[in-house]
Protein backbone atom coordinates (compact mmCIF):
# COMPACT_ATOMS: atom_id res chain seq x y z
CA UNK A 1 0.00 0.00 0.00
CA UNK A 2 1.18 3.53 -0.70
CA UNK A 3 1.25 6.08 2.08
CA UNK A 4 -1.76 7.80 0.48
CA UNK A 5 -3.72 4.54 0.65
CA UNK A 6 -2.69 4.07 4.28
CA UNK A 7 -3.83 7.61 5.16
CA UNK A 8 -7.15 6.92 3.48
CA UNK A 9 -7.82 4.33 6.18
CA UNK A 10 -7.44 6.97 8.93
CA UNK A 11 -10.22 9.18 10.25
CA UNK A 12 -9.77 12.92 9.75
CA UNK A 13 -11.87 15.96 10.59
CA UNK A 14 -10.29 18.34 8.12
CA UNK A 15 -10.54 21.99 9.17
CA UNK A 16 -11.15 23.69 5.84
CA UNK A 17 -10.98 27.15 7.41
CA UNK A 18 -7.67 26.87 9.18
CA UNK A 19 -4.36 25.60 7.81
CA UNK A 20 -2.51 24.60 10.96
CA UNK A 21 0.80 24.41 9.09
CA UNK A 22 1.99 26.97 6.57
CA UNK A 23 5.01 26.39 4.39
CA UNK A 24 7.29 28.53 2.27
CA UNK A 25 7.64 26.80 -1.09
CA UNK A 26 10.72 28.85 -1.84
CA UNK A 27 12.39 27.97 1.43
CA UNK A 28 15.80 26.34 1.88
CA UNK A 29 16.01 23.49 -0.66
CA UNK A 30 18.05 21.33 1.69
CA UNK A 31 15.39 21.60 4.37
CA UNK A 32 12.70 20.75 1.81
CA UNK A 33 14.66 17.60 0.90
CA UNK A 34 14.68 16.63 4.57
CA UNK A 35 10.96 17.24 5.02
CA UNK A 36 10.14 15.18 1.92
CA UNK A 37 11.94 12.23 3.53
CA UNK A 38 10.89 12.83 7.13
CA UNK A 39 7.13 13.45 7.00
CA UNK A 40 5.56 10.11 8.00
CA UNK A 41 2.43 11.06 6.07
CA UNK A 42 4.43 11.95 2.95
CA UNK A 43 2.71 15.35 2.73
CA UNK A 44 5.83 17.23 1.63
CA UNK A 45 6.18 16.35 -2.04
CA UNK A 46 8.20 17.78 -4.89
CA UNK A 47 6.13 17.97 -8.08
CA UNK A 48 7.47 17.26 -11.56
CA UNK A 49 8.99 20.76 -11.68
CA UNK A 50 10.78 20.23 -8.40
CA UNK A 51 8.38 22.63 -6.63
CA UNK A 52 7.26 21.84 -3.10
CA UNK A 53 3.62 20.91 -2.69
CA UNK A 54 2.15 20.48 0.76
CA UNK A 55 -1.31 19.62 2.01
CA UNK A 56 -2.07 19.79 5.72
CA UNK A 57 -5.20 17.64 5.35
CA UNK A 58 -3.50 14.27 5.99
CA UNK A 59 -1.34 15.52 8.85
CA UNK A 60 -0.68 13.07 11.69
CA UNK A 61 0.29 16.00 13.98
CA UNK A 62 3.66 14.53 14.96
CA UNK A 63 5.63 17.81 14.92
CA UNK A 64 8.61 16.46 12.98
CA UNK A 65 8.41 19.20 10.33
CA UNK A 66 8.34 21.81 13.09
CA UNK A 67 11.58 20.40 14.50
CA UNK A 68 13.27 20.00 11.11
CA UNK A 69 11.94 23.05 9.32
CA UNK A 70 10.91 25.82 11.70
CA UNK A 71 11.99 29.27 10.63
CA UNK A 72 12.89 28.12 7.12
CA UNK A 73 10.34 26.08 5.19
CA UNK A 74 7.78 25.82 7.99
CA UNK A 75 6.45 29.35 8.39
CA UNK A 76 3.90 28.52 11.07
CA UNK A 77 2.96 25.42 12.98
CA UNK A 78 0.09 24.91 15.40
CA UNK A 79 -2.16 22.07 16.37
CA UNK A 80 -5.46 21.93 14.48
CA UNK A 81 -8.34 23.59 16.32
CA UNK A 82 -10.12 21.59 19.01
CA UNK A 83 -11.85 18.48 17.67
CA UNK A 84 -10.24 18.88 14.24
CA UNK A 85 -7.45 16.99 12.52
CA UNK A 86 -6.65 13.30 12.79
CA UNK A 87 -8.63 11.10 15.16
CA UNK A 88 -6.89 7.89 16.13
CA UNK A 89 -9.27 5.03 16.79
CA UNK A 90 -6.48 2.62 17.71
CA UNK A 91 -3.32 4.65 18.32
Amino acid sequence: MTVEEKLAVDKFHVDEEFAHIEVDKDGDAKVIDRLVKLCPAGLYVRDENGELTFDYAGCLECGTCLVAGKGTVVKSWNYPRGGMGVEFRLG
Binding site: P40, C62, N78, F88
Partner: protein, 430 residues
Protein backbone atom coordinates in the same frame (compact mmCIF):
# COMPACT_ATOMS: atom_id res chain seq x y z
CA UNK B 1 -16.37 38.59 38.38
CA UNK B 2 -16.71 35.48 40.45
CA UNK B 3 -14.45 33.08 38.61
CA UNK B 4 -14.23 29.50 39.71
CA UNK B 5 -10.67 28.55 40.51
CA UNK B 6 -9.69 24.92 40.11
CA UNK B 7 -6.96 23.36 42.19
CA UNK B 8 -5.42 22.21 38.95
CA UNK B 9 -6.04 22.52 35.25
CA UNK B 10 -4.31 19.87 33.18
CA UNK B 11 -3.55 20.44 29.51
CA UNK B 12 -3.71 17.14 27.67
CA UNK B 13 -5.70 14.00 28.38
CA UNK B 14 -2.94 11.48 27.66
CA UNK B 15 -1.36 9.21 30.22
CA UNK B 16 0.44 11.89 32.26
CA UNK B 17 -2.64 14.12 32.29
CA UNK B 18 -5.12 11.37 33.12
CA UNK B 19 -2.90 9.98 35.89
CA UNK B 20 -2.45 13.40 37.47
CA UNK B 21 -6.22 13.96 37.23
CA UNK B 22 -6.95 10.56 38.79
CA UNK B 23 -4.63 11.09 41.75
CA UNK B 24 -5.80 14.67 42.38
CA UNK B 25 -9.50 13.86 42.08
CA UNK B 26 -9.12 10.86 44.36
CA UNK B 27 -7.58 13.17 46.98
CA UNK B 28 -10.61 15.46 46.69
CA UNK B 29 -9.03 18.21 44.62
CA UNK B 30 -10.99 20.17 42.01
CA UNK B 31 -9.34 19.22 38.75
CA UNK B 32 -10.15 19.73 35.09
CA UNK B 33 -8.46 18.20 32.04
CA UNK B 34 -8.57 20.07 28.74
CA UNK B 35 -8.00 17.82 25.73
CA UNK B 36 -7.87 19.04 22.12
CA UNK B 37 -8.97 15.71 20.62
CA UNK B 38 -12.49 14.28 20.54
CA UNK B 39 -11.54 11.96 23.42
CA UNK B 40 -8.49 10.99 25.45
CA UNK B 41 -6.14 9.01 23.24
CA UNK B 42 -7.52 10.36 19.96
CA UNK B 43 -4.23 12.18 19.32
CA UNK B 44 -1.96 9.65 20.96
CA UNK B 45 0.13 6.90 19.46
CA UNK B 46 2.52 4.40 20.99
CA UNK B 47 4.75 1.73 19.47
CA UNK B 48 3.61 0.29 21.76
CA UNK B 49 4.36 -1.33 24.95
CA UNK B 50 3.51 -0.04 28.41
CA UNK B 51 5.75 -1.09 31.29
CA UNK B 52 3.12 -1.49 33.97
CA UNK B 53 5.05 -0.75 37.17
CA UNK B 54 4.22 2.95 37.49
CA UNK B 55 0.48 2.59 36.82
CA UNK B 56 0.45 -0.39 39.18
CA UNK B 57 1.27 2.08 41.99
CA UNK B 58 -1.72 4.25 41.08
CA UNK B 59 -4.29 1.57 40.21
CA UNK B 60 -3.09 -1.80 41.58
CA UNK B 61 -4.09 -4.68 39.33
CA UNK B 62 -5.06 -2.28 36.52
CA UNK B 63 -4.36 -4.86 33.81
CA UNK B 64 -7.29 -6.98 34.98
CA UNK B 65 -9.79 -4.35 33.86
CA UNK B 66 -7.86 -2.00 31.55
CA UNK B 67 -7.96 -2.66 27.78
CA UNK B 68 -4.44 -4.09 27.50
CA UNK B 69 -3.86 -6.14 24.36
CA UNK B 70 -1.41 -8.83 25.49
CA UNK B 71 1.12 -9.26 28.29
CA UNK B 72 4.61 -9.54 26.81
CA UNK B 73 6.33 -12.89 27.46
CA UNK B 74 8.59 -12.94 24.42
CA UNK B 75 11.31 -10.39 23.65
CA UNK B 76 13.00 -10.46 20.28
CA UNK B 77 15.83 -8.40 18.88
CA UNK B 78 16.91 -8.77 15.25
CA UNK B 79 19.85 -7.49 13.29
CA UNK B 80 18.68 -7.14 9.71
CA UNK B 81 20.34 -6.80 6.35
CA UNK B 82 18.31 -6.33 3.20
CA UNK B 83 17.51 -10.02 2.82
CA UNK B 84 18.51 -11.68 6.10
CA UNK B 85 18.04 -11.41 9.84
CA UNK B 86 19.73 -12.77 12.94
CA UNK B 87 17.41 -12.82 15.92
CA UNK B 88 17.80 -13.18 19.66
CA UNK B 89 14.67 -14.52 21.34
CA UNK B 90 14.10 -14.43 25.08
CA UNK B 91 10.89 -16.15 26.16
CA UNK B 92 9.71 -16.70 29.71
CA UNK B 93 6.41 -16.47 31.59
CA UNK B 94 8.43 -14.67 34.28
CA UNK B 95 8.16 -11.51 32.13
CA UNK B 96 4.42 -11.54 32.92
CA UNK B 97 4.97 -11.20 36.68
CA UNK B 98 2.79 -8.19 37.64
CA UNK B 99 5.76 -6.61 39.43
CA UNK B 100 7.61 -6.17 36.12
CA UNK B 101 4.97 -6.94 33.50
CA UNK B 102 4.70 -4.98 30.28
CA UNK B 103 1.69 -4.89 28.00
CA UNK B 104 1.07 -4.24 24.33
CA UNK B 105 -1.46 -1.40 24.26
CA UNK B 106 -3.32 0.79 21.78
CA UNK B 107 -3.66 4.32 23.04
CA UNK B 108 -7.15 5.27 21.87
CA UNK B 109 -8.90 2.58 23.95
CA UNK B 110 -6.33 2.63 26.75
CA UNK B 111 -6.35 6.40 27.36
CA UNK B 112 -10.15 6.50 27.22
CA UNK B 113 -10.22 3.86 29.92
CA UNK B 114 -7.81 5.82 32.12
CA UNK B 115 -9.81 9.01 31.56
CA UNK B 116 -12.95 7.15 32.68
CA UNK B 117 -11.18 6.05 35.87
CA UNK B 118 -10.22 9.67 36.57
CA UNK B 119 -13.78 10.82 35.84
CA UNK B 120 -15.14 8.27 38.29
CA UNK B 121 -12.90 9.83 40.93
CA UNK B 122 -14.45 13.22 40.17
CA UNK B 123 -12.10 14.73 37.60
CA UNK B 124 -13.73 16.86 34.92
CA UNK B 125 -12.83 16.45 31.24
CA UNK B 126 -13.35 19.04 28.54
CA UNK B 127 -12.66 17.56 25.11
CA UNK B 128 -12.33 19.21 21.69
CA UNK B 129 -10.80 22.35 23.14
CA UNK B 130 -7.31 23.43 22.13
CA UNK B 131 -5.57 25.50 24.77
CA UNK B 132 -4.03 28.44 22.92
CA UNK B 133 -2.25 30.19 25.71
CA UNK B 134 -1.50 30.35 29.40
CA UNK B 135 -2.79 33.08 31.65
CA UNK B 136 0.31 34.65 33.15
CA UNK B 137 -0.02 37.39 35.78
CA UNK B 138 2.99 38.90 37.57
CA UNK B 139 5.14 36.11 36.13
CA UNK B 140 2.88 33.47 37.64
CA UNK B 141 0.85 30.99 35.60
CA UNK B 142 -2.81 31.35 36.64
CA UNK B 143 -4.56 29.06 34.20
CA UNK B 144 -5.26 28.51 30.54
CA UNK B 145 -6.88 30.36 27.68
CA UNK B 146 -8.75 28.77 24.79
CA UNK B 147 -10.08 31.28 22.30
CA UNK B 148 -11.83 33.89 24.46
CA UNK B 149 -12.38 31.52 27.37
CA UNK B 150 -10.23 31.66 30.48
CA UNK B 151 -9.95 28.88 33.00
CA UNK B 152 -8.24 29.75 36.28
CA UNK B 153 -6.36 27.28 38.45
CA UNK B 154 -3.93 27.31 41.35
CA UNK B 155 -1.59 25.09 39.37
CA UNK B 156 -1.46 24.37 35.65
CA UNK B 157 -0.04 20.99 34.69
CA UNK B 158 1.28 20.78 31.15
CA UNK B 159 0.77 17.28 29.80
CA UNK B 160 0.51 18.47 26.22
CA UNK B 161 2.82 15.97 24.60
CA UNK B 162 6.19 15.91 22.83
CA UNK B 163 5.48 19.19 21.05
CA UNK B 164 4.68 21.34 24.06
CA UNK B 165 3.87 24.62 22.36
CA UNK B 166 2.74 25.95 25.74
CA UNK B 167 6.00 25.00 27.45
CA UNK B 168 7.80 26.74 24.58
CA UNK B 169 5.64 29.87 24.95
CA UNK B 170 6.63 30.07 28.61
CA UNK B 171 10.28 29.75 27.62
CA UNK B 172 10.63 26.64 29.76
CA UNK B 173 10.91 24.20 26.86
CA UNK B 174 13.55 25.22 24.29
CA UNK B 175 13.00 24.73 20.56
CA UNK B 176 13.26 20.98 20.00
CA UNK B 177 16.68 19.72 18.91
CA UNK B 178 16.56 17.36 15.87
CA UNK B 179 19.38 15.32 17.47
CA UNK B 180 17.20 14.68 20.51
CA UNK B 181 14.02 13.64 18.71
CA UNK B 182 13.18 10.85 16.33
CA UNK B 183 10.22 10.43 14.02
CA UNK B 184 8.15 7.29 14.06
CA UNK B 185 5.56 5.86 11.66
CA UNK B 186 3.41 2.93 12.62
CA UNK B 187 0.59 0.85 11.21
CA UNK B 188 -1.79 -1.52 12.89
CA UNK B 189 -2.27 -4.66 10.82
CA UNK B 190 -5.42 -6.64 11.46
CA UNK B 191 -5.12 -10.44 11.63
CA UNK B 192 -7.13 -12.53 14.05
CA UNK B 193 -6.41 -13.58 17.60
CA UNK B 194 -5.42 -17.17 16.89
CA UNK B 195 -3.26 -16.22 13.92
CA UNK B 196 -1.32 -13.75 16.06
CA UNK B 197 -0.73 -16.37 18.77
CA UNK B 198 0.26 -19.03 16.23
CA UNK B 199 2.56 -16.90 14.12
CA UNK B 200 4.44 -15.53 17.11
CA UNK B 201 4.45 -18.72 19.15
CA UNK B 202 2.67 -17.30 22.16
CA UNK B 203 -0.29 -18.41 24.25
CA UNK B 204 -3.64 -16.58 24.15
CA UNK B 205 -3.28 -13.31 26.07
CA UNK B 206 0.51 -13.39 25.84
CA UNK B 207 2.52 -11.48 23.31
CA UNK B 208 5.77 -10.59 21.66
CA UNK B 209 7.79 -7.35 21.60
CA UNK B 210 10.30 -7.17 18.76
CA UNK B 211 12.90 -4.60 17.80
CA UNK B 212 14.80 -4.50 14.50
CA UNK B 213 18.19 -2.89 13.91
CA UNK B 214 19.87 -2.27 10.56
CA UNK B 215 17.89 -2.61 7.39
CA UNK B 216 14.61 -0.81 8.05
CA UNK B 217 16.49 2.46 8.54
CA UNK B 218 18.86 1.65 5.72
CA UNK B 219 21.77 1.25 8.13
CA UNK B 220 21.18 4.50 10.00
CA UNK B 221 20.24 5.42 13.54
CA UNK B 222 16.89 4.02 14.53
CA UNK B 223 15.15 0.79 13.73
CA UNK B 224 11.90 -1.03 13.49
CA UNK B 225 9.47 -2.42 16.01
CA UNK B 226 6.65 -4.90 16.17
CA UNK B 227 4.23 -5.50 19.03
CA UNK B 228 1.52 -8.12 19.04
CA UNK B 229 -1.93 -6.85 19.97
CA UNK B 230 -4.87 -9.13 20.69
CA UNK B 231 -5.89 -9.64 17.06
CA UNK B 232 -3.48 -7.33 15.24
CA UNK B 233 0.15 -6.30 15.17
CA UNK B 234 1.66 -2.84 15.47
CA UNK B 235 4.54 -2.47 13.01
CA UNK B 236 6.66 0.64 12.77
CA UNK B 237 9.96 2.41 12.30
CA UNK B 238 11.85 5.09 14.20
CA UNK B 239 14.67 7.27 12.91
CA UNK B 240 16.50 10.23 14.43
CA UNK B 241 15.45 13.48 12.75
CA UNK B 242 19.00 14.84 12.43
CA UNK B 243 20.11 11.59 10.80
CA UNK B 244 17.89 11.93 7.74
CA UNK B 245 20.62 13.63 5.68
CA UNK B 246 22.58 10.37 5.70
CA UNK B 247 19.59 8.48 4.43
CA UNK B 248 18.06 8.42 0.98
CA UNK B 249 15.03 6.45 2.13
CA UNK B 250 11.94 8.28 3.34
CA UNK B 251 10.20 7.36 6.59
CA UNK B 252 7.14 5.86 4.82
CA UNK B 253 9.51 3.85 2.58
CA UNK B 254 11.42 2.56 5.62
CA UNK B 255 8.15 1.12 6.91
CA UNK B 256 7.47 -0.40 3.50
CA UNK B 257 10.94 -1.96 3.58
CA UNK B 258 10.12 -3.54 6.92
CA UNK B 259 6.75 -4.85 5.66
CA UNK B 260 8.52 -6.60 2.80
CA UNK B 261 11.52 -7.88 4.75
CA UNK B 262 11.72 -11.71 4.64
CA UNK B 263 11.75 -11.86 8.46
CA UNK B 264 8.56 -9.78 8.77
CA UNK B 265 6.53 -10.38 5.58
CA UNK B 266 5.23 -13.90 6.41
CA UNK B 267 4.13 -12.72 9.86
CA UNK B 268 1.81 -10.02 8.54
CA UNK B 269 0.73 -11.77 5.35
CA UNK B 270 -2.98 -11.45 4.62
CA UNK B 271 -3.41 -8.72 7.21
CA UNK B 272 -5.24 -5.46 6.51
CA UNK B 273 -3.90 -2.09 7.59
CA UNK B 274 -6.46 -0.66 9.99
CA UNK B 275 -4.68 2.56 10.92
CA UNK B 276 -1.55 4.52 10.04
CA UNK B 277 -0.04 6.86 12.61
CA UNK B 278 3.02 8.99 13.30
CA UNK B 279 4.64 10.68 16.25
CA UNK B 280 7.92 11.96 17.62
CA UNK B 281 10.00 9.91 20.03
CA UNK B 282 12.18 11.41 22.75
CA UNK B 283 15.81 10.40 22.47
CA UNK B 284 17.69 13.18 24.24
CA UNK B 285 18.17 11.43 27.55
CA UNK B 286 18.79 13.53 30.64
CA UNK B 287 20.47 16.29 28.63
CA UNK B 288 17.14 16.93 26.89
CA UNK B 289 15.04 17.46 30.01
CA UNK B 290 13.95 21.12 30.22
CA UNK B 291 12.97 23.30 33.17
CA UNK B 292 9.91 21.58 34.67
CA UNK B 293 8.74 23.94 37.43
CA UNK B 294 7.84 27.61 37.64
CA UNK B 295 5.36 29.65 39.65
CA UNK B 296 2.01 27.93 39.20
CA UNK B 297 3.08 25.44 36.55
CA UNK B 298 4.50 21.92 36.26
CA UNK B 299 5.51 20.00 33.13
CA UNK B 300 4.96 16.25 32.86
CA UNK B 301 5.49 13.33 30.47
CA UNK B 302 6.58 13.84 26.87
CA UNK B 303 6.19 17.61 27.25
CA UNK B 304 9.05 17.44 29.76
CA UNK B 305 11.04 15.13 27.46
CA UNK B 306 10.73 12.39 30.07
CA UNK B 307 11.48 9.24 28.14
CA UNK B 308 14.29 6.82 27.58
CA UNK B 309 15.46 4.92 24.53
CA UNK B 310 18.31 2.46 25.03
CA UNK B 311 17.86 0.82 21.67
CA UNK B 312 16.59 -2.46 23.14
CA UNK B 313 14.19 -0.82 25.56
CA UNK B 314 11.95 2.12 24.64
CA UNK B 315 10.08 3.85 27.44
CA UNK B 316 7.87 6.91 27.64
CA UNK B 317 4.47 5.90 28.95
CA UNK B 318 5.70 4.61 32.32
CA UNK B 319 7.63 7.88 32.69
CA UNK B 320 4.51 9.89 31.81
CA UNK B 321 2.39 8.04 34.37
CA UNK B 322 4.99 8.41 37.14
CA UNK B 323 5.52 12.12 36.42
CA UNK B 324 1.74 12.65 36.39
CA UNK B 325 1.43 11.00 39.77
CA UNK B 326 4.33 13.01 41.23
CA UNK B 327 2.94 16.27 39.83
CA UNK B 328 -0.41 15.48 41.48
CA UNK B 329 1.25 14.77 44.83
CA UNK B 330 3.14 18.04 44.49
CA UNK B 331 -0.09 19.98 43.95
CA UNK B 332 -1.67 18.26 46.97
CA UNK B 333 1.27 19.26 49.18
CA UNK B 334 1.20 22.81 47.81
CA UNK B 335 -2.52 23.03 48.55
CA UNK B 336 -1.89 22.09 52.17
CA UNK B 337 0.67 24.91 52.45
CA UNK B 338 -1.48 27.18 50.24
CA UNK B 339 1.73 28.05 48.44
CA UNK B 340 1.93 27.57 44.67
CA UNK B 341 5.22 29.37 44.10
CA UNK B 342 8.09 27.79 42.20
CA UNK B 343 9.87 27.25 45.55
CA UNK B 344 6.91 25.30 46.91
CA UNK B 345 6.35 23.34 43.69
CA UNK B 346 10.07 22.47 43.56
CA UNK B 347 9.21 19.35 45.53
CA UNK B 348 8.18 18.00 42.10
CA UNK B 349 11.80 18.13 40.97
CA UNK B 350 12.91 16.47 44.22
CA UNK B 351 10.31 13.74 43.76
CA UNK B 352 11.44 13.18 40.18
CA UNK B 353 15.06 12.93 41.36
CA UNK B 354 14.06 10.30 43.91
CA UNK B 355 12.04 8.32 41.37
CA UNK B 356 13.13 5.88 38.68
CA UNK B 357 12.65 8.69 36.16
CA UNK B 358 15.77 10.67 36.99
CA UNK B 359 17.67 7.68 38.34
CA UNK B 360 17.26 5.84 35.03
CA UNK B 361 17.94 8.96 32.96
CA UNK B 362 21.13 9.61 34.96
CA UNK B 363 22.19 5.99 34.69
CA UNK B 364 21.87 6.08 30.90
CA UNK B 365 23.17 9.65 30.55
CA UNK B 366 25.90 8.66 28.09
CA UNK B 367 23.69 6.43 26.00
CA UNK B 368 22.21 8.95 23.51
CA UNK B 369 25.73 10.09 22.53
CA UNK B 370 26.91 6.47 22.32
CA UNK B 371 24.08 5.66 19.91
CA UNK B 372 24.81 8.64 17.71
CA UNK B 373 28.58 8.02 17.72
CA UNK B 374 28.42 4.28 17.22
CA UNK B 375 27.12 4.11 13.68
CA UNK B 376 28.61 0.64 13.26
CA UNK B 377 25.72 -0.56 15.41
CA UNK B 378 23.40 0.26 12.53
CA UNK B 379 25.70 -0.22 9.54
CA UNK B 380 28.16 -3.04 10.20
CA UNK B 381 26.98 -5.37 12.91
CA UNK B 382 23.91 -6.59 11.05
CA UNK B 383 25.91 -7.63 7.96
CA UNK B 384 28.64 -9.13 10.18
CA UNK B 385 26.25 -11.30 12.17
CA UNK B 386 24.31 -12.40 9.13
CA UNK B 387 27.49 -13.25 7.26
CA UNK B 388 28.64 -15.43 10.16
CA UNK B 389 25.24 -17.14 10.18
CA UNK B 390 25.37 -17.65 6.43
CA UNK B 391 28.81 -19.24 6.80
CA UNK B 392 27.52 -21.58 9.49
CA UNK B 393 24.27 -22.65 7.90
CA UNK B 394 24.93 -22.64 4.17
CA UNK B 395 25.75 -26.10 2.81
CA UNK B 396 26.33 -26.25 -0.92
CA UNK B 397 28.88 -29.02 -1.33
CA UNK B 398 31.90 -26.75 -1.65
CA UNK B 399 35.00 -27.30 0.48
CA UNK B 400 34.41 -26.47 4.14
CA UNK B 401 36.01 -23.41 5.69
CA UNK B 402 36.78 -23.76 9.42
CA UNK B 403 34.19 -21.91 11.49
CA UNK B 404 36.83 -19.76 13.16
CA UNK B 405 38.06 -18.60 9.79
CA UNK B 406 34.51 -17.99 8.53
CA UNK B 407 33.60 -15.93 11.54
CA UNK B 408 36.87 -14.06 11.70
CA UNK B 409 36.57 -13.08 8.05
CA UNK B 410 33.31 -11.26 8.82
CA UNK B 411 34.62 -9.85 12.08
CA UNK B 412 37.77 -8.51 10.44
CA UNK B 413 35.70 -6.47 7.98
CA UNK B 414 34.39 -4.49 10.93
CA UNK B 415 37.72 -4.63 12.74
CA UNK B 416 38.42 -6.34 16.03
CA UNK B 417 39.66 -3.10 17.57
CA UNK B 418 36.46 -1.32 16.54
CA UNK B 419 34.32 -4.04 18.07
CA UNK B 420 36.33 -3.91 21.29
CA UNK B 421 36.06 -0.13 21.43
CA UNK B 422 32.30 -0.14 20.78
CA UNK B 423 31.75 -2.88 23.34
CA UNK B 424 33.69 -0.93 25.96
CA UNK B 425 31.84 2.32 25.20
CA UNK B 426 28.51 0.50 25.12
CA UNK B 427 29.06 -1.21 28.44
CA UNK B 428 30.10 2.09 30.02
CA UNK B 429 27.01 3.82 28.64
CA UNK B 430 24.70 1.14 29.99
Amino acid sequence: MDEEIFDAVIVGGGLAGCTAAYVLAKAGCEVVVVERGSYSGSKNMTGGRLYGHSLEKVIPGFAETAPVERVITKERLSFLTEDAGTTVDYTTPALADPACASYAVLRAPFDQWLAEQAEEQGAMFINEIRVDDLIVEDGKVRGVRAGDDDLYARVTILADGAVSLLGQKLGMVPPLDPHKYAVSAKEVIQLDEKTVSDRFGVKAGEGCAWLFVGDPTNGHIGGGFLYTNKDSVSLGVVTTIADIDYNDTSVPDMLKRLEHHPVVAPLIEGGDIREYTGRMVIEGGIAGVPELVRDGVLITGDAGALGLNTGYCVRGMDFAIESGRLAAETVMAAKEKDDYSAASLATYTAKLDDSFIMKDLKHYAKFPTFMEETRRMFTDYGPMLNEIMSGMFTVDGSAPVPLKKKAMGSVKKVGLMNIAKDARKGLKAL
